[in-house]
């Protein structure tokens, strides 16, 4: 996994709440057996609309998505995270994320920065006044920044310590767990014999 420390990039204001994972990538796009190429399906239903924010040339280089509350609710499909990453997004800012989506993002290396909805609102306003403007995210200090001078927006964001550490280090969860192999084996030795097996 690619470590994440800081990132500055074009931010895309997505003024919608409750963007579920079916909106991020509809089920018909989930049939691939590889991890790449899912950008085609990203926000598929909205991409036909020429006024949809991702279709505007100013946002062509977008790498930070700024979305309304409850982003990534619904289905567990990690393809939603891959679609965002395959498209070029490194981070999503929202005031509330679907649990499974947030977990998936951490594992796959997409930063989910949770800020107050008021901050989202200010960033939206800022970006809409200056389409193509950048936002900076610093995971070390857990801060997001946009604009400068008197209008500058700077606030801290929430992310749990463990995910932050993993993202900063670019660590693979499985390697960490395999390091505790002896604990797993001793747990297994103590499991009741009546627990079901599938084979």
């Amino acid at each position: 996994m690619q470590p994440f420390t800081t990132h500055t990039g074009v931010a895309v204001p997505l003024r919608r709440s409750n963007v579920d994972t079916d909106q991020i990538i509809p089920a018909v796009y989930l049939k691939r057996v590889a991890r790449t190429g899912f950008e085609d399906g990203l926000f598929a239903a909205w991409r036909n609309d020429s006024t949809f924010v991702l279709n505007r040339p100013e946002y062509a280089e977008g790498s930070i998505l700024v979305a309304g509350p409850d982003f990534g609710t619904g289905s567990s499909r990690e393809h939603a995270v891959w679609a965002l990453q395959n498209y070029g997004f490194r981070a999503v800012i929202s005031s509330r994320f679907g649990d499974i989506f947030r977990g998936n993002s951490g594992k796959a290396g997409l930063l989910t920065a949770q800020v107050d909805q008021k901050v989202v609102q200010r960033i939206w306003d800022h970006l809409e006044d200056r389409p193509g403007a950048t936002v900076s995210i610093d995971l070390e200090t857990r801060t997001v920044k946009a604009g400068d001078g008197v209008d500058a927006i700077e606030d801290s964001f929430d992310i749990d310590d463990y995910t932050r550490w993993q993202l900063l280090e670019g660590l693979d969860d499985i390697d960490i767990t395999l390091g505790h192999e002896d604990e797993v084996s001793s747990y297994e030795a103590s499991r009741p014999s009546w627990k079901p097996v599938t084979a």
């Binding site: 049939k31 797993v184 079901p196 599938t198």
Partner: protein, 465 residues
């Protein structure tokens, strides 16, 4: 201080606990299907890792499979590749697989309980958000992403931060004709789609205790629709009776030991929940959705709301967008909404009891002109049982289409999809934009409302017939 049910189950599965780290939980059962597993198996292959416990893992084909001509090769080449990839991965890694044509093939959340693999006090995961279904047995069961699927395949464990606990107590008795589906839709309309976020929820109270196991599964299934991490119900005699004798149920002395342990799986009287909600079942009525998330619902007897009915500005905007997408006018009585397709099936309502309920309504009647009724059993075994009971004949005589088992129109990954603008009444769990086919419009309903709607052609309950 005592412990809640979910705390007891959680604590029994902690392999490792360390400050600043999530708990490392042992996974008792890992369910696998074709859509969210290929990249996980690929990851194992690249790293040269085996599946640690194939004997605690089981796979099935459900999301993609056709429900007609399922005995022939899958026509859609991309779906076929995905199913074939699962078959070769299962063979390579030694994972038991119930494939198309096998009596135990079916929707992953239907076959776990059906095989007796789902038992109280277990931890169960699957790359599918409706894994919460298995909570009906007093298990902690939740959906995971593909990276986590790979993690469980490789280690049989999962690092997880301990969620908060919530009790949803449903007092009183459900009136006749009001089902578990109505109850859970009412709950979600009450809490909103984010109301359960960060919690493991225990459903309890008289109304929950009175529900059958199948109805309890309907409730737990939809826990994720209000954002809960998982939902569970304390096991009782009904739970034990449901499990006893099934293929993977404990036998003989093992059964006695298991039941003795299962009886301890209740929240202690002095346990504290982080949050509590109390609802009264006796005031509930058939409930249907009008919008594009499961929280946008009203009683069937009500009318389509107006955006101005919502105090919260975001809710009002969401309502406006939903009404536009759904092609609905505020103020239209729900009962006057004309439906093109009725879908009975899914892991929410595709079990035998659901099919019986729907069949009882359509028996001796005929599906309305201009409406189609699609009945898709949740598993091959449910289909066989329904055919044994003659339910297929009742459905076919009423003009319904009787299909093979799978997810089907719940998410439209196979050919069973709505056309743009087409409206459905569906016993599934998600009315998201485009969920059942691009541009399709979904109303979530109970099996009873689905069946009555098929007969009248507009949203209805059996009482309207």
């Amino acid at each position: 201080m005592g412990k809640t049910l979910s705390e007891k189950v959680w604590d029994e599965h902690v392999v490792r606990q360390a400050a600043g780290e999530p708990d490392l939980l042992y996974v008792d059962l890992h369910l696998v299907h074709e859509v969210t597993s290929p990249q996980a198996f690929e990851g194992l292959r690249l790293a040269g890792r085996p599946v640690r416990r194939p004997d605690l893992t089981v796979a099935t084909e459900d999301h993609n499979v056709p429900t007609i001509d399922w005995d022939k090769p899958i026509a859609d080449p991309v779906s076929r590749t995905q199913v074939e990839t699962l078959r070769s991965n299962a063979a390579e890694f030694g994972v038991p697989l119930h494939q198309l044509g096998d009596a135990d093939q079916g929707i992953v959340h239907i076959i776990g309980p059906q095989l007796g693999l789902t038992q109280p006090g277990m931890t169960i995961v699957c790359g599918d958000s409706h894994t919460s279904t298995h909570g009906a047995f007093g298990a902690i069961a939740f959906g995971i992403g593909t990276s986590q699927v790979e993690h469980v395949l490789a280690t049989q464990t999962l690092p997880q931060a301990k969620p908060k606990t919530m009790a949803v107590t449903v007092e009183g008795e459900l009136p006749d004709g009001v089902t578990a589906k109505d109850l859970v839709l009412t709950l979600i309309a009450h809490t909103g789609t984010g109301g359960g976020q960060g919690y493991i929820v225990e459903y309890r109270g008289e109304a929950i205790r009175n529900l059958s196991m199948e109805a309890r599964m309907t409730i737990c299934n939809m826990s994720i629709e209000w954002g809960a991490k998982a939902g569970l119900i304390a096991p009782d005699e009904k739970t034990f009776a449901y499990i006893e004798g099934r293929t993977h149920a404990p036998k003989g002395e093992d059964w006695d030991a298991a039941v003795a342990h299962w009886r301890t799986l209740v929240s202690d009287d002095d346990a504290r929940f982080d949050k509590e909600i109390v609802l009264d079942a006796s005031t509930m009525t058939p409930f249907v959705t009008w919008g594009t998330n499961p929280g946008q619902g009203v009683p069937l007897a009500a009318s389509v709301p107006a955006p101005s009915d919502f105090e919260d500005a975001d809710d009002a905007t969401a309502a406006e967008k939903a009404l536009e997408y759904m092609g609905l006018q505020a103020g239209t009585p729900m009962r006057e909404i004309k439906v093109d397709t009725v879908f009975v099936g899914s892991c929410t309502n595709g079990r035998i009891e659901d099919l019986r309920a729907a069949a009882a309504v359509v028996e001796g009647r005929h599906v309305a002109d201009g409406t189609r009724l699609l009945v898709v059993p949740g598993s091959a075994r449910v289909r066989l049982q329904a055919e044994d009971e003659g339910l297929d004949v009742i459905f076919k005589e009423a003009g319904a289409e009787w299909r093979g088992a799978g997810c089907s129109m719940c998410l439209g990954m196979n050919p069973d999809q709505l056309e743009p603008g087409e409206r459905s009444a569906s016993t599934s769990n998600r009315n998201f934009e485009g969920r059942q086919g691009k541009g399709g419009r979904t109303h979530l309903v109970s099996p009873l409302v689905a069946a009555a709607t098929a007969i009248r052609g507009t949203l209805s309950s059996p009482a309207d017939l």
